[in-house]
Symmetry: C3
Subunit: 463 residues, 3 copies
């Protein structure tokens, strides 16, 4: 494939400046404080009986910060497992997340937050923007090491837009409203399948020329565990961040906590069981142990029970390890899907599992179980518009719609990213920081010959 | 000692699957949402006048997440100081914590959370489960590097059970109720002495064959500082997480903050003072600086004053460094206690100090100082059942009971763990990841001969 | 320069013990629980109608913990970028922060928290103490690698005192009250210019003898990104931690969030644009991407709008990268300011930008925009004492006062630190851990010759 120069001297600044200036202008025209962040409006609310502790900030800001850590540290460090791609993993994650959360504010606001022609924002929109960003970062995991930062920004721009469309369709349109507070469908399934199609379109037949760098070293695996653990610890906050106040937030966090704990045990079990010498594989621990959070994303808000949550997490861990061990190699060989981080195993299959669990759990909801709390979880069932089994059908439709938009969107965006103008790395220098970064040596106090050789190579490319 | 194969291919999966399936069944039979996580019950409460912001979730969830970070990142990374044991430190910490928190939910619920034959759970039980897990991880620190993951799971199973028994006895039975919100006794003293006895029973006379790996390298000490700092920063949340709402939570966090700050200065002072060349020792900084949190675990909730807290922290730092420097070598040589992480110095002695401070502080409590707030801290003193000095006696008894159960429990569990079926590593391959983990090379891009040699060695063992 | 021995065996313990004992005595004499941490007082408040959820703990403690992480992990790890100074960066950061927060409690209490001769403390004073500590750590960044821990403690003692004086003058005296909740002036501008003057006075003409260590290695840059990201993620909490409850806290966090996001994009753009080969520079990403948080420190609380916040952040990123690229080398060559971490670019210029933005935004405040919420942000404007444009003037005066006290204070303290009794490292052994720390080898399992040579060298010095 004819490649443009990978030199980012003009490409990246131009892209960043154009995008940011557009963002700033659109924010200036469209975005306003909502009633809880506006000095005048909130003052008026306090005059009419509200107290400061009822400001949504105090219900949601701790969860927001946990989600924020997942996005920047969690995703960023999870991807540092590659031996020579730590700067890019953390650094590009940082860049595209900072862009995506701004763009998501606009797109999500446009589709479901307009008030009199203006987008009103507060802590809940910030969480939703971070959620949408999470979806982009999942797709980033699929193409990790094989894309330029400009490609990633372009991908993010389109994916955020499609995410907002899908979210709007799923949560507001499709036969009424589906439930997906933790985003098993809208975030994980969407992000995974979108990314998988993109990486399929960007298939590199000669990627094995970079094979020696497509693996970890001892310290890079430890850095990645920082990412894993922050994702694992804060997933209860992720799934509960935008659920209804009170019991719903509380219950969702707890369900996710038990789902993840059960998932961790099945992950360790499967990792040892599937290794010929019984040795644990860091890839499984870093990824599959998180599948329980993904799988509890839809039903976590429901009366799933801790028992149900643990069953779901237990299965998610098993599925995920099996995926890494047996399915990913097949996807790569037969379907030409080069999924660097194995997002299909962490976000794809567990996301679908979560969607199915959500549909089933919704379809068996009864007033005996939910009482007056039905209103907060399934408003349409509570007010008699539909019965619970139809809510289950809605959930299933939502999954189908999500898959459709993700696959079609990924297809189109993949071809756009294939245009040879974005400075993608050549097959010989994938998974390599020094093509886009000034890279110091490995060891203190003496020159690193390997680095020197690599950088020279890259300098030639950057022409 | 005749060792079983260290190959975990069957041992670990069987253990994990059996334990998790038992957990799932017991959760299905016994565990229910409490009134704040149940949709129907909380709805009914809101109908009878409660507001969503009164849900315990908003009082405790931020503290819970801080505690959660301490358990998984704090303990996990603190133990990565060993040069070749980072995967195991973080990874086994992750595994046994994920197991322990589930098992602790059941055991603690069984002993002090049953309602009509069911265990009711919510954010407070999640914090307590994490607390109990912390105790297991302290014991893990004592045996670090010398145990298989199966041994650790078996240890956790027994230790969690005994922890719940001790907690029940100490907080509910022993002459009424003792106070130990931050667990100087129930968590730190218990975990430390339990672990010390276990490591004594598992004494390895030939452990010096693994001596060259029982130390740090430059980067592993930096990773360990991540653990240290998270423990240090969030200890105020740990000690205050389950205290009474309002002033008690607020005061406990503040007391712990000042105790830790004072402890840090005395730790640095003692570390330089006890070195022949005045150089600071990372072992002291990583561990002793935390002793102020341990020592404020019982009295932190009381009207200890910031002044009192600082005195306690100051002493804890001094004791802890002296322990590392002079006592640990003696314990190893004379008493054959091989305490890898020096838990005696971080959790053992400071825990006892904390218990004593708690007893003294309790015994001088007066209505002049506590006013109507006495009720929340010392209910039995407030209602006249006992006087304050007897509360002090109770606290002392609680310490004695804790030590007794820890020592006896550790003895029994140590002998169980000695059974040669759990795949413990041989003396020559302790403190070594590659016996239980697929380990990549140290350096990017060229083969690591050392690793290759080690893995070959381990492969022979795994036969 | 004639140097005292760098051996810390007596110097450091004596300094730490004297300081801590003074602190403990002063706390014993002067410090009391405030009405929200005192058992009796809070109980009485609940009897007169307050609820536990109105305790300031629940409004501010999550923000406090975020700030706390910024101080210990954020600043600590940000400075680990140096290849051989990780122990000192994290470890001295830890030491001087633990000292400063105690001393700040006293100094800030003395200047603006006395009640009947006593200093009353709670979560807000803890946040303010951490803020003051942040200022000291900024100055630490300027002198990083060239100072002994004793020098740093002495610097902290003086700087905390001057910080409290300046804060008192700026927030209470200067023509009434200025607004600076996130500390663009009082924290960032003050800390940066104070540190820059100190490092100027401590100018080392032969520092290039340590040049080979004054740079990063691959892994040290990744450790530094942990610091960067925690600062970045939690800056919204930093700026909003002590603003008024309700909309002000909510709005400040959100403004900061968008300022940082915009800043990140302009930072990446400028980093690529100013490199001859378009490669991103970790120094810029680690530092300049944070400038948006600094620059939103004064106006973040105001009705700056998300649009305004983004403009500010966008400019801050540009200024900061330009500073690193072009201004820092000039400052070093022409003005002899050796600014190790480039605090002028991250805290100095963006702090001044933030002060100016604050002055302008204040001067255009109107009742139309703020409504009844004017009271909480600009009390003097709300009650008609002054008009908004004069509030703008006040803000400008506050900046001038801050700069004046910082420059003059830094001058005096710099000369004090120059006294050759504090064990500063010689020019040949700057940026080197092994002069003050026991340092293990770099690589597992074989001796590190380089380390051995260095330590021998240092041992001679400590002789």
């Amino acid at each position: 494939m004819a490649q443009a120069s990978t030199n980012m001297r003009l490409k990246l600044p131009i892209t960043c400046f154009i995008l940011e200036i557009i963002l700033i202008i659109l924010f200036g025209v469209l975005v306003q404080y909502n009633h809880e962040t506006d000095a005048k409006e909130w003052y008026n609310e306090t005059q009419s009986g509200h107290s400061n502790y009822e400001n949504d900030f105090y219900y949601r800001y701790p969860s927001f910060q946990d989600v924020h850590v997942m996005i920047f540290i969690g995703f960023g460090f999870l991807m540092t497992f590659l031996q020579r791609y730590g700067f890019s993993s953390v650094g590009f994650n940082f860049l595209i997340a900072a862009f995506s959360l701004q763009w998501a504010t606009l797109m999500q606001g446009f589709f479901h937050g307009m008030h009199g022609g203006k987008i009103h924002i507060g802590v809940e929109s910030m969480i939703n923007a971070d959620f949408c960003t999470g979806s982009v970062l999942i797709s980033f995991g699929a193409v990790l090491g094989k894309t330029s930062p400009v490609q990633l920004l372009i991908m993010a721009m389109f994916e955020v837009t499609l995410f907002a469309v899908n979210e709007f369709v799923v949560l507001s349109v499709v036969g009424g409203a589906s439930i997906d507070a933790g985003g098993s469908m809208t975030i994980h399934t969407f992000g995974a399948y979108f990314g998988l199609v993109v990486t399929r379109i960007l298939y590199r037949p000669n990627l094995d020329k970079s094979k020696d760098r497509n693996s970890s070293v001892y310290h890079s695996d430890l850095f990645a565990m920082i990412g894993t653990l922050y994702l694992w610890m804060f997933w209860p906050s992720f799934n509960s961040a935008v659920t209804a106040h009170g019991d719903a937030q509380h219950r969702t966090a707890m369900n996710t906590y038990y789902s993840l704990a059960a998932c961790t045990l099945s992950t360790y079990a499967m990792s040892a069981l599937t290794a010929h010498d019984g040795k644990l594989d860091m890839v499984h621990i870093q990824n599959a142990a998180l599948a329980g959070g993904v799988a509890a994303g839809t039903a976590g808000e429901m009366m799933l029970t801790p028992f149900g949550s643990m069953v779901v997490g237990f299965l998610a861990g098993i599925i995920s390890v099996l995926g890494f061990k047996y399915l990913s190699p097949i996807l790569e060989k037969k379907l030409k899907i080069q999924d660097t981080c194995g997002v299909h195993n962490l976000h794809g299959m567990p996301g679908i599992l979560g969607a199915i669990v959500g549909a089933v759990t919704a379809s068996v909801a009864t007033v005996e179980i939910y009482g007056g709390g039905m209103e907060a979880v399934f408003p349409d069932v509570a007010d008699g518009t539909i019965d619970a089994s139809f809510q289950g059908v809605r959930q299933a439709i939502a999954l189908a719609v999500t898959l459709g938009i993700a696959l079609l969107g990924g297809l189109i965006v993949g071809f756009i990213l294939k245009l040879p103008v974005f400075g993608a790395p050549p097959d010989t220098v994938c998974f390599e920081d020094s093509i886009y970064w000034e890279v110091p040596g490995e060891e203190p106090g003496h020159e690193d010959q390997l680095t020197a050789v690599r950088m020279e190579e890259c300098d030639k490319l950057n022409g």
